[in-house]
Symmetry: D2
Subunit: 352 residues, 4 copies
């Protein structure tokens, strides 16, 4: 029996997880008040407050970009600067949405393996002449957890960045499109890597890890969310039948589903990483701390894998020798093993 | 056996129709390319081209506001004026989203029963000094079909407005949040009330008529859509798992489902209107040409209906004697009859 | 000896007053720190604080639109509503600048003779469902002093509007493009018609009354101006050689020059009004409370005056029988008398 | 006889040149039509067409930021990318104005001595996946002439960049805040370094070189300027008494005044550069190709010069050892010599 070659192009090619689809079906009973006044939506903030062990305000939206840019818009005036990694999703992959919603300017910093460092941030901020009206003014920092390179900030990393942010009176945002994967990897409490470390607002993603289209802006400092609901509507992101978005989020965080699924995806990434790193000529370029693997691969192997029908992206340009391989909640060991075996065979052929 | 009092507050309190939920479930099979590269999404433009009897470009989004404001942003430069009815949804109920996405200014016109008139529009435009840089410049007209008062423009009405629009080089947008209801009422071809009458782009709604969260921006002049996909992403409205939005739209227009459902809702509105208009002291203030009924009702009857648990909104202010009653694809004759009977009883008590 | 026919088209066709040009020349001595760090600019806030009998913050800009829209941007979030008269300059004559700078929506109200009424405003605000996220939220009120119809709010009028504004937590802006004319007409202290009556920020105009290009945003509540300087730069309105703008403003308010000039213009408007109102067939349609006169004039007289070379605008549309006649600081009695005599002659001919 | 120590902080600390002030005074005669309908303004496009040996459209504004951002707004849709040097004025010193006016994103490139290179630009653009909606789309390139490092692009440099721009369908903007200094240095025709080399629109600066507040957006492809006048008004940059801005520009380009003044400033920069480079321990870090000199100076000398009262900025951070020295049209040889002598003395003391 043969299988289609596995797809590691992204975790958004996966379907909706069965528990989440069941929640959607369960929500589909009779009439319900619109715009978040339904019962499921009404309980979300309480559920998330429990999950995060503090009182939070939660706003469901349906895309990660919406969660990011609406959250950021609460942290900066139009003349502000938002500091982020030079390869952050908000900088590279949101087609200007952050600037559109905030009016602010993204200012990028380098950092190994996709991570900002507190030292770089501090040096950048200390070099500024604050209050000089020719320059955008520091307003916020945005971290990605997991990062674009599949690495995870430790609580101490976040706390060090938060300390710099507080010193300069900056808000701290976390883009958690793959937050579950980091929490599963770190085996820490969600609180430990967010508000306890100094995060003000989190884009909490569910779509990539089994959801259909569900993300949440989670405010750990509710006073920052004062005009959020108006901005969400003004952005066109207020859903009339919000119960279906909220049902996804409620099911996602119930009984640890989100962490079980993230743990599976992470385990598959580890298996993939181990398999590939054992192949001569292939090198893993970033630590595997979530559900992404970045191997440097000989060109003939890349071409061979592509010809075999495996799905993946080159990372860092159209001719880059580094691949990005993403596992998802439904990735199987067989899929991983099939990919590794194919890479091994192709690498051996290349070495002949 | 007793039933809960019916809810006529909005058609967005209804659940997802079974055929559409089945389509969502059917889309949930294995991996699929993201961002609209899946098979279901790929066929949408073809399906809609067939439906509208001309080549169209279709862009799925998930809210009516997103469909409206992204569509309008293709029709106007930032210094433009968009003409609309003074009670249009884009003017009153989108929290500034049109201005946010377009940079343009909404200029409102009065009109009976929620309808713009070609004569008013023409008079307004003829009174302008075009090219005078102190004023926003006419760029687009936006019609709602059905209107906010539950009335429907006839093809000739639209054509007359389009003629004025063309004379002044304006784009013509139709907000079709309840487009199905108008088409079902008019019993005309979708083409007849849109591009054949001069409409350039349509916000085609499915959410209110059985969808979960699915709307489509339908461009009858594809050249107008050139930068639409970038603006959609920049607005945060590009769905990674777009197959689930597209599946709703595909099921909605398959085999006339959308018109069958709209026809049912319309029939219930007619039944409601007939029942209420027979009650002494109640008067229907707008023609019922879709799925909304606007009766003027004595205060004691309003209070009584509310006390009984019926759902509805006053229309035109918090103390208005006019109600808006909206029927949906799943409204039943019993629900309508129960409401009418209650109103009759309360009106009789009031008359004693 | 003959003279060119007078120009009453606008007070912005006048040249720079000699005292102000002298101040510009005086500023032109040697090097000076840029961007407002020069001596003249540095003293402006103190001079205006004296003038207004309270501590104010003053920001020079060069156009009235810049002063208005930057000021308003400090009073509203992007989802706000700014209430203004339906014929306000910000609504009709700034090509969308207020929306561009604020992200907010202008909501217009009618009012006799260009004036908003506290009663209308209160009724409008009381009819709203506050906090309903589908609607822009009340944020500010903008009054024009003098109004677009050449009338002036009394201190009590402003105070009544301010009372409503305070009740709904709205900021109060005054567009004072012709503030001098109103103050000269009312013979009140500048404080009496601004902060003592409840105004938060004033666009204080000098250009129309003898300046070259000089306006000031005057904040009576300095805490509202926190990000003004960044927004001014971001709008491109920070002048490197600001000394020349500041010199105009300093000369303008020194020794009452601004009120002497405004008083002259007002006197000419009164003379014009009296002369015209004595002519059979001509009627003055708005009280003359500043430097503008709005007569309704027979068509043949309008055409005749235009043919003679007099400068003026029709008001309210290209075919309107109402003219707007504006006097300036340099308008002479002979100019006024010549216009009145011509109108009289033409009216007599028309009556034959 | 002693003099105040010279100020080399910026060319915007200089006063208005006498010829330009005379032109302002000459414009101050009687009434004139507003908003650019006056005679002086009306002739500007013709004068500039002659100067540039091709038909151009000219729009006067009063700040360089306004000229830059309004010009750029004509070259990009809101989802566009504008490529510029990483230290460009539009990137670093306009407080987000370019993003505000264009909605686009600035994408920066490195480059020696402040200059973009065609090779870098080409490599960047060739690495992109065009049409990928997650990314802003290439729309324009902006060059500064002279650059922020006081260097000047040769016609061939500009032509090479323009060739890349044309290949990717990008507009080409030149920020000419110090355009005069570059033209004077290059001794080329203004046409040679602009449209003949492929520039589409130029921000032509006069303020820094003897003007009061006058810049011009010069369109070499008039069809690109279609909505400029509305955007100018919407930005608050339309001057009612525009004659005074236009008069500056007309005088500036009459009889080669702009090049004579620029030549003087350049000569003083050369003299300064030669004097400083002869001092042991001081090194000139960028070629001197306009009116700016960037010497690396020992800390004790910097402190000493500052203590003596000389005006200058450190460049590249608050603790940078590199100074920026700017000469102006009115800088004298004595001022230069005094600075050099002081530096020499301080350097000698430091070496002891």
């Amino acid at each position: 029996m043969t299988h289609a070659p596995a797809d590691f192009a992204s975790d958004n090619t996966a379907p909706v997880a069965p528990e989440i689809m069941e929640a959607i079906l369960a929500a589909n009973a009779g009439q319900a008040l619109p715009y978040g006044a339904d019962d499921v939506s009404a309980e979300l903030s309480a559920k998330f407050s429990e999950l995060f062990e503090t009182k939070v305000l939660v706003f469901p939206v349906a895309t990660g970009t919406a969660a990011n840019v609406l959250s950021l818009s609460m942290l900066t005036p139009p003349c502000g600067a938002i500091y982020c990694h030079e390869n952050a999703h908000i900088e590279e992959d949101e087609c200007g949405a952050p600037e559109f919603y905030t009016g602010a300017k993204l200012v990028t910093l380098p950092g190994d393996h996709g991570r900002l460092s507190a030292a770089n941030l501090s040096e950048k901020l200390e070099g500024l002449t604050l209050g000089f009206e020719h320059h955008v003014q520091p307003a916020a920092v945005s971290l990605s957890q997991a990062t674009e390179n599949g690495t995870s900030y430790r609580p101490d990393d976040v706390a060090a960045i938060a300390e710099v942010a507080r010193r300069f009176d900056l808000g701290l945002h976390m883009d958690g499109a793959r937050f579950a994967n980091s929490v599963a990897y770190l085996r820490c409490a969600p609180a430990a890597i967010t508000w306890r470390a100094g995060v003000d607002v989190l884009s909490f993603g569910a779509t990539k890890n089994g959801g259909m289209a569900a993300e949440a802006a989670v405010f750990f400092r509710p006073e920052l969310a004062e005009t959020f609901k108006y901005r969400r509507k003004r952005g066109g992101h207020l859903f009339s039948k919000m119960r279906y978005v909220s049902a996804q989020l409620a099911a996602y965080v119930a009984d640890g589903l989100w962490l079980r699924y993230a743990g599976r995806a992470n385990a598959m990434a580890q298996r993939l990483s181990e398999g590939l790193s054992a192949i001569s000529g292939i090198e893993i370029v970033h630590p595997v701390e979530a559900n992404e693997v970045f191997p440097r691969v000989p060109e003939s192997v890349i071409v061979g894998l592509s010809d075999l029908g495996f799905g993946f992206h080159r990372w860092g340009g159209r001719a880059s020798p580094v691949l990005r391989l993403v596992t998802a909640f439904n990735t199987t060991g067989n899929e991983v093993d099939g990919f590794v075996a194919a890479a091994e065979r192709l690498a051996a052929e290349a070495a002949e």
